[in-house]
Amino acid sequence: MSAAKRAASALVVYGNCQAEAIVTSLGADAFFTAMLTPVYLRSFEHPVDGRATIEGRTLERTALLWEQHDPIRFPYLDRLRSDVPVVTFASADLQLLFPFNCVNPYNAPEPPIFPFGRFAYGDRVILRAIDRGMTRDDVLEYYLTSWDDYAIDLDRLEQLENARLRARDAKCAVAIGDFVLATFRKQRLFWTANHPTSFLLAELIERLLCASERLNPALADTDIERTLQVCFRPEGPLGVVSVPVHPRVAEILGLEWYDPRERYRNWDGTTYSYEEYVAAMIDHAFAMRELGAGRPIAPR
């Protein structure tokens, strides 16, 4: 839809990359943009672009704010009109599928193709093996064959994830943890620990639209599921990168959708099998290590 046909009133969505995906999705929906123009404000510091700001004119025409639960609240709350509804919502994420997920100290932004680096999602088993002085080949062999040595208690992690998601849901007007916990075994919900698939993204947006009916009942008639199917590739707006689920994690959790032949994507369009992905991440870590990256960090 052209910008000229967009509604004068704005919906501001504040949060992480999921908030951006919500705005991208709704921005492709002509039915929605006739009512509201979606605007994204990120809650985090972008590795290349830094902090984001929002124009005063946008704040003046804001009719609705969707605020993701975050340690740093929407910084312009006091500049919104007092009658603007604020709908808080929970981030959709799940560590349980990626129990070794961590910050990758060997990762560094390489714009424009890799703004968040080549392997933004680290793996603590690989990092620990490198720290122990294993060779590249030994790290790969260890990762692929030694689950029993580095296995994690997935039952306890699931209990903790339950507690985490329920605690956060309780602080938000729109919850999503309940849906994640009830569905993650039957349906693929995540490409990475915090990148939902279109299936989950549609559920989150539908819940937000229903929670915003007070502003305009017609909002709930937006068919976002169809828009995501028609206007985006099957992997959806957050599927440009995907991280493998460890085969033993899939087996132990009983993930019905898991396909061991799946290929995983990276920013530059490269696709990898599970083994190829692990090997590429290890190769990258060793290459970056030679350049001096990956040292332990000091707290602030």
């Binding site: 340690p71 994420d93 560590q95 129990p99 997920n101 961590c102 910050v103 100290p105 603590r124 990092l127 720290d131 994690i152 208690d153 306890r156 992690l157 209990q159 903790l160 994830e161 339950n162 507690a163 985490r164 605690a167 956060r168 620990a193 915090n194 040292r295 332990p296 960090i297 000091a298 707290p299 602030r300």
Partner: protein, 86 residues
């Protein structure tokens, strides 16, 4: 176990979990905002690692209400004391 001993062991677990420098300063006032990589996702792994280090299980409903390392230390001391009584 004294408060200082619990804090020292929590610090060791944090160094391992978050890959901190060996001389990392961790006090009762340290929060997740002070440590790169300590977010709501990795918090679960920190809890699992301290549970393993102390041989105890923490009450789930309280693990996500901790404001800083000091509150984690207090929660651990309570849990360890309960474990010892049993």
């Amino acid at each position: 176990m004294t408060e200082a001993e619990v804090l020292a062991r929590v610090r060791a677990v944090m160094i391992e979990t978050f890959r901190l420098t060996d001389d990392a300063v961790v006090t009762r006032a340290t929060t997740s905002l002070d440590v790169d990589g300590w977010d709501s996702l990795s918090h679960a792994l920190l809890i699992m690692n301290v549970e393993e280090a102390f041989g105890t299980e923490l009450p789930l409903e309280r693990t996500y209400e901790l404001a800083d390392v000091g509150e984690l230390v207090d929660l651990l001391r309570d849990a360890v004391a309960r474990t010892d009584v049993r």
